[in-house]
């Protein structure tokens, strides 16, 4: 890239909408019946282990990582779909209420789009019923320019790109293509006029050719209505096309977060670099691929939790730089290395590149 990079401007970020601080979610370990009788205990899985992220107004934040890194669990906690073991989630400064009523009010503002539209839609409901469900739970808003339920459903469908909306009212999900189904899911979220959309792998179950259309739709919502979008994905190429900021998670922690241009073009954490290496690119150039299985959250390694797979440790470079003992023995937190760009790696303290 020859053209000069605009300086990432932190002040550009809007006001915080959703703030997550020190989030921890554990899943109880399970053992078989007989092992239980013998007094054995399953080990708990620390799915999320101290995550702090902020979603600003009108921003697209990508939460990226492998399966089992805790990205979906973080998204579900933000939705109030599970109760965290520690940490706070605030919406516009207010802590998330745990009461039924409190959550209902919150979910009017924060809506979720799931990965598999076929599983998310009730096969025995018509598209109209599916989209209207949110309004029936939250009530049709009153006021001077009040609209009827039908008007709101029609508006949500056409905002989601299903036009003319009347044509879809009486159809069932099986009569639509995968892309159209995902649009119905998005219409169901839009109908209550949310300010935040949490999208968990919104395009990974779709054909490559229709992915772009769905992403373009999400981008339009952000521009038109200043909706903030948290997009959970394993695909950094997708993050490059849509995200303003990227947070990379590994084993329940955010290991790098910052402006998308910085994180994706000049990664500072060896794990981010490894993830970038597996984005398929033309040429079949031999790039080192991280070996081994996705890590197990029931057995979190000491020190930097990435060290057993870290190429900097494996190549002996960490030892030469004199940080090996800390890599394998001392836990570390995110540290700011540039405005708005935080990394959790001992290399950055030495000014070294991964």
């Amino acid at each position: 890239m020859s053209d000069p990079q605009p300086e990432p401007d932190v002040a550009e970020l809007g006001v915080p909408v959703v703030e997550v601080e020190g989030l921890e979610v554990n899943f109880k370990g399970r053992v078989g019946f007989f092992s239980g009788l013998l007094g054995r205990k399953g080990s708990d899985a620390k799915a999320v282990d101290g995550v702090s992220i902020t979603l600003h107004e009108g921003e697209v934040l990508a939460l990226a990582g492998e399966s089992g890194c805790g990205k979906t669990t973080t998204a579900r906690a933000i939705m109030g779909l599970l109760i965290p073991d520690a940490g706070t989630i605030r919406y516009r400064g207010e802590p998330l209420a745990r009461s039924r009523r409190g959550l209902r009010g919150y979910r009017r503002q924060v809506q979720m789009v799931f990965q598999d539209p076929t599983a998310a839609l009730n096969p025995r409901q018509t598209i109209y019923e599916i989209v209207a469900e949110g309004l029936r739970i939250h009530g049709v808003p009153g006021g001077p320019d009040a609209k009827t339920e039908e008007q709101l459903v029609a508006r949500a469908l056409s905002r989601a790109g299903l036009r003319p909306p009347e044509r879809f009212y009486l159809l069932y999900p099986h009569e639509l293509s995968g892309g159209q189904r995902q649009r119905v899911v998005i219409a169901g979220a839009l109908v209550v006029d949310p300010t935040v959309i949490v999208a968990d792998e919104p395009v990974s179950n779709l054909d490559a050719s229709v992915r772009g259309e769905i992403l373009a739709l999400l981008m339009k919502l952000r521009e038109g209505s200043r909706i903030s979008i948290l997009i959970v994905t394993h695909d950094l190429g997708l993050a490059w096309t849509v995200a303003d900021r990227v947070a990379v998670m590994y084993l329940g922690r955010v290991v790098e977060v910052g402006p998308a241009e910085e994180v994706l073009q000049r990664p500072k954490h060896p794990y981010t670099k490894a993830l970038l290496n597996v984005v398929p690119e033309a040429g079949g150039t031999e790039r080192p691929i991280l070996q081994g299985e996705p890590p197990d959250p029931t057995r979190i390694p000491k020190g930097c939790r990435f060290h057993p797979r870290c190429p900097v440790v494996a190549s002996g470079r960490a030892e030469r730089l004199g940080i090996l003992n800390r890599c394998i023995g001392e836990d570390l937190a995110l540290e700011e290395i540039a405005p708005g760009h935080d990394v959790a790696c001992y290399l950055t303290g030495l000014g070294e590149e991964p």
């Binding site: 293509s177 490559a208 229709v210 992915r211 259309e213 096309t241 033309a282 691929i289 996705p294």
Partner: protein, 328 residues
């Protein structure tokens, strides 16, 4: 010398609602030691081709044309002969490795089964062969005694590859072999396939909707739309300088990180793939095409020359006959 040669293949599924033409005249050629990538949206007919090559389609399906695999005329084989050809001449790796294995049989026995069925060796040698195969796909021999549930998704997909290699076939058909896997594991499996293909000189037909994966592994690419091949050529050339507007749209779905043209501008293809029972007239892609001309709804394009070793079924191709209202 080609391992697989498909000529004018037409496949029509028989349903209660009438015949569904899934493949409408396809020619393919895969040479020894070559990887041919076959790409397209769901429903374009790419998996049907995989099924037709090993005759795995429902019994009533109408198949015409000619499929020659390792010198065998597949469509004319008797059931007994067909069994002998499956696994030894050509084998297949399916998408859902998790569902393709018998959950109550040990891994070793499952890998040994085709070797024993084909009478290639006795029980003892078959077990040794199974152990070697496991090592080839990067797993320790002791895994032979594991059950499928003891393995991760990536390991199961490795086992599927080991099974496909069991009888040393000339051709492996890989139908979306990495789609259900996690990013890092997907990269590992691709690397393994590439190494094995190279070391064993295999012919590989690699089917996926993910064009970016194909560029990494394939020598040549064939792009399918509505049951026909619409573009064909060297993998890099097809991906980087697509000649067919459909290929352009598919390639744009995989942005290169760092490429400012994609930043903040996701692009995709509007509309839906055509219903195989109501394929649009002329060029079937014209209702969704960004470069449609007045001629497109009436001219049925053939695979015209579109550069050196390149074919494209588009009126914009350099070798297309001159048509009214079409500029190049």
């Amino acid at each position: 010398m080609s391992v697989l040669s498909v000529r004018d293949l037409v496949v029509e599924y028989q349903t209660t609602g009438g015949g569904v033409p899934a493949v409408r005249g396809v020619d393919l050629e895969v040479d020894r030691g070559e990887v041919l990538g076959l790409a397209g949206e769901s429903g374009c007919g790419k998996s049907t081709i995989a099924g037709a090559i090993l005759r795995l389609l429902p019994a009533k399906t109408k198949i015409t044309g000619r499929i020659e695999l390792d010198g065998n005329d597949i469509l004319e084989l008797t059931p007994g002969k067909l069994r002998a050809v499956r696994w030894t001449a050509g084998s297949i790796v399916f998408q859902g490795a998790m569902h393709a294995m018998n959950p109550v049989q040990r891994i070793g026995e499952q890998i040994m089964e085709p070797i024993l069925v084909h009478g290639q060796s006795g029980e003892r040698e078959a077990r040794i062969r199974a152990g070697t195969l496991l090592e080839q796909v990067g797993l320790p021999t002791r895994r032979l005694d594991d059950y499928p549930h003891e393995l991760s998704g990536g390991q199961k997909q490795r086992i599927m590859i080991a099974m496909a290699l069991a009888c040393s076939p000339s051709l492996i058909v890989a139908d979306e072999p990495t789609t259900a896997l996690d990013v890092m594991v997907q990269a590992q499996v691709l690397q393994l396939l590439r190494t094995l293909q190279h070391d064993l000189g295999l012919a590989l037909l690699f089917i996926t909707h993910d064009l970016s994966v194909l560029v990494e592994v394939a020598d040549r690419l064939a792009i399918m739309y509505a049951g026909k091949i619409v573009e064909q050529g060297g993998a890099e050339a097809v991906f980087h300088t697509p000649a067919h507007p459909y290929t352009k749209a598919l390639a744009a779905a995989f942005p290169a990180i760092g490429d400012m043209r994609f930043r903040g501008r996701p692009s995709g293809l509007g509309g839906d793939p055509p219903d195989p029972q109501q394929i649009p007239s002329g060029c079937p892609f014209h209702p969704r095409c960004a470069e449609v001309t007045p001629a497109c709804p009436s001219v049925t394009p053939e695979l015209w020359t579109a550069g050196p070793a390149r074919l494209a079924a588009c009126v914009h191709a350099s070798g297309a006959p001159a048509l009214e209202g079409v500029s190049r």
